[in-house]
């Protein structure tokens, strides 16, 4: 039993970083452009398909395919920003609906190109590690570490460099920031592109672990929004904690409670947080 719980904890933490990387995109986009980009799930799907396509169809090495997939996804994000999101800045409802329209377009496109049959990538890194009787596939550990590294690097960039200072200045007072020489338009587009790139990375790594299908993003974006809100929207490390917390809640919750309602635990948790601690669990921290 103890081992089962420990296993679920670990699994939850790994899935949680996947929630976290998308939640980070949600949080950053919300903080700088004032909209919630629900299409990040679709960008994750795009990243996953690109990684699969480049590795299994085009014959690229996986470690090379991942950065390419991220670049392609970020380019798609740039395109979406310039044609769509540029016009919905700070308009929450319109931004929400445009991103939902974009999901329908991207999922429809993916269904046309790759059909609804799930794709399975060949094993990139077979084999397992064994710690004290716990078996962890090597690839899962790699994915976990890469995602953790990217989230920590983003945190470092936002707390230690001028980019972070500019972003915080902007989030406090956009006009004053602009007067101080922050190029706000570039920053807004940059954050949309960066968040889609993060989603693409999440997807590209996801593809090496699980089978992928055109609608995979919708589950993940919901979980990511839940994670972002759990921790308090706007907090970088919070999106990681929120994601891991959600992953662990689901993992451990499904040992004791019916597994069919696995998706409901996060929702109940979310409603409780929003009602009683609306600024999030880690309110006041960046």
């Amino acid at each position: 039993m103890g081992q089962l719980i420990l296993g679920q904890l670990l699994n939850g933490a790994i899935v949680g970083t996947l929630y976290g990387i998308i939640a980070l995109g949600v949080t950053l986009t919300f903080g700088i452009t004032g909209i919630v980009n629900f299409a990040l799930g679709a960008f994750m799907m795009l990243g996953a398909y690109m990684a699969w396509f480049l590795t299994d169809e085009a014959g690229l090495a996986y470690p090379l395919a991942v950065p390419c997939a991220v670049a392609i996804t970020a380019l798609a994000g740039l395109l979406a920003d310039q044609t769509l999101f540029r016009f919905t800045r700070n308009n929450l409802v319109n931004g929400l609906l445009v991103s939902i329209g974009l999901i329908a377009v991207m999922e429809g496109g993916a269904l046309l190109l790759w059909t609804s049959t799930p794709k399975n990538m060949e094993y990139v890194l077979p084999g397992v590690f064994t710690f004290f009787g716990l078996v962890v596939p090597k690839m899962k550990l790699v994915v976990f570490l890469v995602l953790l590294g990217v989230i920590l690097a983003t945190y470092a960039a936002l707390t230690r460099t001028w980019i972070g200072r500019a972003a915080y200045a902007y989030s406090q007072n956009p006009e004053a920031a602009e007067l101080m020489g922050v190029r706000t338009k570039v920053m807004q587009s940059g954050v949309v592109v960066y968040s889609t790139g993060l989603a693409g990375l999440g997807g590209a790594l996801y593809a090496s672990l699980y089978s992928i299908d055109p609608t995979m993003g919708s589950v993940y974006i919901l979980k990511a929004v839940e994670s972002a809100i759990l921790a308090g929207i706007g907090s970088v490390m919070g999106s990681l904690f929120g994601g891991v917390l959600l992953g662990i809640t689901e993992g451990v919750g499904s040992i004791y409670l019916p597994i069919a309602f696995r998706d409901a635990y996060g929702l109940i948790f979310l409603v409780a947080i929003l009602l009683f601690k609306p600024a999030g669990l880690f309110a006041g921290r960046r």
Binding site: L97, V105, L111, A260
Partner: protein, 318 residues
């Protein structure tokens, strides 16, 4: 001409339509459009007029569809009684959800997320309570409502033509009731909440009560729609309560226009008939639907009705 009179004229024109159109196919599309139009109009009471983006609408619609059937099977009541019982259930549920959301002053995105969470919980219950709801497979409804008609006694509503008149009547009734509400003191309170609820509060408007009233009234009409829709379609499945269903309602309202009571019906007509008139595969349909949504928001933020009436006004001014 008042708005109500205009609605009655348009309704009369639609009531005469079956004289010209005998095609069962087109009438069927119109019945679906009327019912979804009713759903969109009721959603617009919450979204367009009171300014609250509720994601609970599909849940109200779906719960009522299931509850009507379950009441008929387990309590042995008629369709109409079942529909009333289902509507009562939905009213109680929306009061609970509404009180929770509005008591805690959830707004905008947070209101949307929490109503979405409740809606998803309802869907998960329907999906997993196999013994009652038959899970993913859904339920085939063979029974049809019966109706007393002058001269014919009690008959089963099984022809498309009868459904056409019932759904048209239900839609017209919904539009008239909503028009009446919107033009009353209640509608003005809704508008005040939409424009600035804190200011409304300082002016003595009970924001909590009117938000709750709009939310419950919208969901109540959605419940009636759900019962009718399910029994016209002849089946129920958990997809009735899905996020996609809620978003489809939002799309209809946006396309039709959120500024006028009857405008969402235009959106429902377009979005319901388009996929049937032009034969698309499911994938292309999704792309077309998404593109319509995006283009409407970016190019026609007031919807078809708003854009047309602006054009008309400009021409009159010129």
């Amino acid at each position: 001409m008042t708005a109500s009179a205009r609605v009655l004229v348009v309704a009369a024109a639609f009531a005469l339509l079956p004289v010209l159109i005998k095609s069962d196919f087109i009438l069927t599309i119109l019945v679906f459009s009327f019912l979804l139009g009713m759903l969109a109009v009721s959603f617009n009471l919450i979204f367009g007029f009171t300014g609250q983006l509720s994601m609970f609408h599909a849940a109200a619609f779906g719960i009522a569809a299931y509850a009507t059937h379950l009441a008929m099977v387990h309590l042995g009541v008629s369709f109409w009684t079942g529909m009333l019982l289902a509507a009562t259930l939905v009213a109680v549920l929306s009061l609970i959800v509404g009180i929770i959301c509005f008591r805690f002053r959830l707004k905008e995105f947070y209101f949307a997320v929490v109503t979405l969470a409740f809606s998803e919980m309802a869907r998960l219950v329907v999906l997993n309570w196999n013994s009652v709801t038959n899970g993913t497979l859904g339920i085939i409804l063979q029974d049809k409502p019966s109706l007393w008609l002058p001269g014919q006694g009690v008959v089963k509503v099984d022809s498309t033509l009868m459904w056409y008149f019932i759904s048209l009547a239900a839609l017209v009734l919904t539009v008239l009731v909503c028009l009446r509400v919107i033009s009353s003191w209640m509608g003005r309170s809704f508008a005040a909440i939409r424009l600035n609820d804190e200011l409304g509060d300082t002016l003595g408007i009970n924001v909590f009560r009117y938000k709750l009233a709009a939310f419950a009234a919208g969901n109540l009409i959605a419940a009636f729609t759900g019962s009718l829709y399910a029994f016209f379609l002849g089946s129920i499945e958990p997809g009735f309560l899905s996020i996609e269903q809620s978003l489809a309602i939002v799309a209809m309202v946006l396309l039709g226009g959120r500024g006028a009571v009857a405008a969402p019906v235009i959106g429902a007509l377009v979005l319901t008939s388009l996929p049937h008139l032009i034969h698309f595969g499911a994938e292309v349909r999704s792309i077309v639907y998404g593109s319509i949504l995006i283009l409407t928001i970016l190019l026609m933020p007031q919807g078809i009705y708003g854009t047309l009436s602006n054009l008309g006004r400009r021409r009159r001014a010129a």
